[in-house]
Amino acid sequence: MTKLALSDEILMKIDKPARYIGNELNSIKKDKEKVAIRFAMCFPDVYEIGMSHLGIQILYDMFNKMEDVWCERVYSPWPDLHKIMKEEQIPLFGLESQEPIKDFDFLGITIQYEMCYTNILQVLDLSQIPLLASKRTEEHPIVIGGGPCTYNPEPIADFFDLFYMGEGEISYQTLFDLYKDMKKRGASRKDFLHEVSKIPGIYVPSLYEVSYKNDGTIENFAPIYEDVPKTVQKQLVMDMTSAVYPEAPVVPFIKATQDRVVLEIQRGCIRGCRFCQAGMVYRPTREKDVERLKDLAYKMLKSTGHEEISLSSLSSSDYSQLQELVTFLIDEFKGKGVNISLPSLRIDAFSLDVMSKVQDIRKSSLTFAPEAGSQRLRDVINKGLTEEVILDGATQAFEGGWNKVKFYFMLGLPTETEEDMKAIAELANETAIRYYETVPKEKRNGRCQITISTSFFVPKPFTPFQWARMYTPEEYLRRAKIVNNTVHEQLNKKSIKYNWHEADVTVLEGVLARGDRKIGQAILHVYEHGGIFDAWSEFFDYQRWLDAFTACGIDYEFYTMRQRDLDEIFPWDFIDTGVSKEFLKREWNNAMAESVTPNCRMRCSGCGVKKFGGGVCYENKN
């Protein structure tokens, strides 16, 4: 049995020792003497969150299928253990071997949200790897970044040796082959980084130079060597059906956030909502064949013993074989004590019928994400959901016995007016009216319960809203207050509950999402002053970030309060996601004109991803 990296004494005094012992079912142990590459795959948040992430499970499975690679997992030690590891100088370790990561060949970190940036530094620090890539030597692992936040890697560029742009299934074999070959030849770290930058999808930040104009915007961004590519191409899987997928994912002992089998039914989204980064960077939409999904469902339930299976995609209702898949899952597994969970379904007759079979209507709630309260603003954001569709869906649901509805909206969207804010509360009120009109008194199970949640909009790179400005925390809260006041002025206020998000975090997310390389020093400053687990409200300290910006001489409002010029060079412009900047500009202008763009199945809008040669762009065209 593997000797644990932490002593019994430590494990008995920290919370949830199961986070750190490995040994889970389906985790992979190999003989380290028999592999050429040791890879530590990190999700920089607590174990229960990290273990729930599908992308890591896919890559863990794929890497370990390579005979000469051993991929292990690592997550952020919780602050209780963090303190002990710092005090006792215990190096951070891989869960499988329990050996220090600093001795591995690679440390790959998936970056899913901006507020984990300080946790990246925590992982490097506890691993005893220099925080700055420029300080690393031949003895340190190569630190790789991947995941959605790398679509603007610049704020964290100083901490990574390289970034992998796009879907991980494609270029790692080439990267590993190059590494083995160059290691054999005794090549230096510097030479490897130079060579690896030529592999499609690989961005080595140290090989690029940025110059700025007097106003702080980018003047020029270019490689420092001629043989390093000027643009970095996003990598993507074109054949989802035959793509590698974990048939036996790791089963945690403690309850992870996703304690279930997750079936990825498709990647990408046809809808083209203008605020949505995933909807742009995962283009084109690519489906997995239903027969493959049925086979995976069997195998994954058998290999894990999970009691629940869930579908994963950006918009499940757009999966063309949804009806067949869902009917199969219910017929095949419902009687065997397996729950079926169906997130991100559009509310219509079919989904209500399915949900009545798989959920307890009295307990479950229906979810709508109109994102904006008024039709005008929904047209601006290209959310093709009308008030009529929402109210009809809710009415059908009320007739079917549901009485709980959840609404998700954003505040602070471009062009938002006070009317738009009030419309959020009004839509909820209209829905309540429908309930009392539809359900006769004797059939009511108390009041209907309508929950409105608003988040504050953060403009993201590679979206049509990447030019948009943000607001101050005070302004965000003022807008939330308008919604709140409107809710309370309405007839059905007792049936409506309103929650809104923190405004401070929103501003920071905005800075980090569209920041440039200058931001890196502030992130470092925050970490050096005790900032970790910023994604957790109990640890987040806004003032610590403001202090860091001041100390580093950064005017953070430069990144949030400015509406960008259409010709501005963005820090992320060197990345080619396939979606052209011309298309994004066109969409920005359409948004300002309140003009709706049809979805990919209705009409091609020429975003540029057709060049990849597959997916929805070529449906029904063979």
Binding site: M1, D8, M12, N23, K255, T304, H306, G337, N339
Partner: protein, 240 residues
Amino acid sequence: MKIRIKFRKYGVMKFIGHLDIMRYFQKAMRRADIDICYSTGFSPHMIMSFAAPLGVGITSDGEYFDIEVNSTKSTAKAIKALNDTMVEGVEVCGYVLLPDNAKTAMSIVAAADYELSFKDGYDVPATKEAFEAAIDEFFINAKEVLITKQTKKSEKTMDLKSLVYNFSVREKEGKPVFYLKLSTGSTDNVKPELVVEALFDYMGLTYNSSAIQIHRIDVYAAGDTPNSFISLGDMGNVIS
């Protein structure tokens, strides 16, 4: 049909708590295709009940839980099917058929055997002989051994004399090892560290919980005569 399953828990698995072990076995039932019964209702759960929860940090050679099944494989096949899908540190070593009128393991638990040993790398504060003499004075020859147990709500004074059925020390690999048979279950549950800590106190020694590995050897139901016990593993019949 009622089935009793016995398993061992060792190595790093001692850090997995009782509730997570329950979840672990629920998933294992599905993986091993055990035809377990579910409760009725909208969210059915498996009919499964554990004998006596084991604290985090403790290893065991004798853990039990009962399930109900619609149909069953043979004992040998069921044990193999389960062990084929176990992680290192959990081993199924019993699978027997109970009579239909059998009470659940949880309701009949009366006692458990424990072994407490000093972990490598920690000081042993007294010899086996010194511990032996102290046990005689402190426990064997005493009329009553009153200790105070701190619970969440209140303090409770217990007489160990009636709740500790056996307390001895032996030498193993050059170190003293304690053996205890203790009252266990929902009414008079005695934790082994409580007894050994009381002994250390009596001897003027400091009890360092990190230094001691607690291991449960087996769990018992009450026998037909007073102070006689029958192992939960000795009930039921092997399925051929």
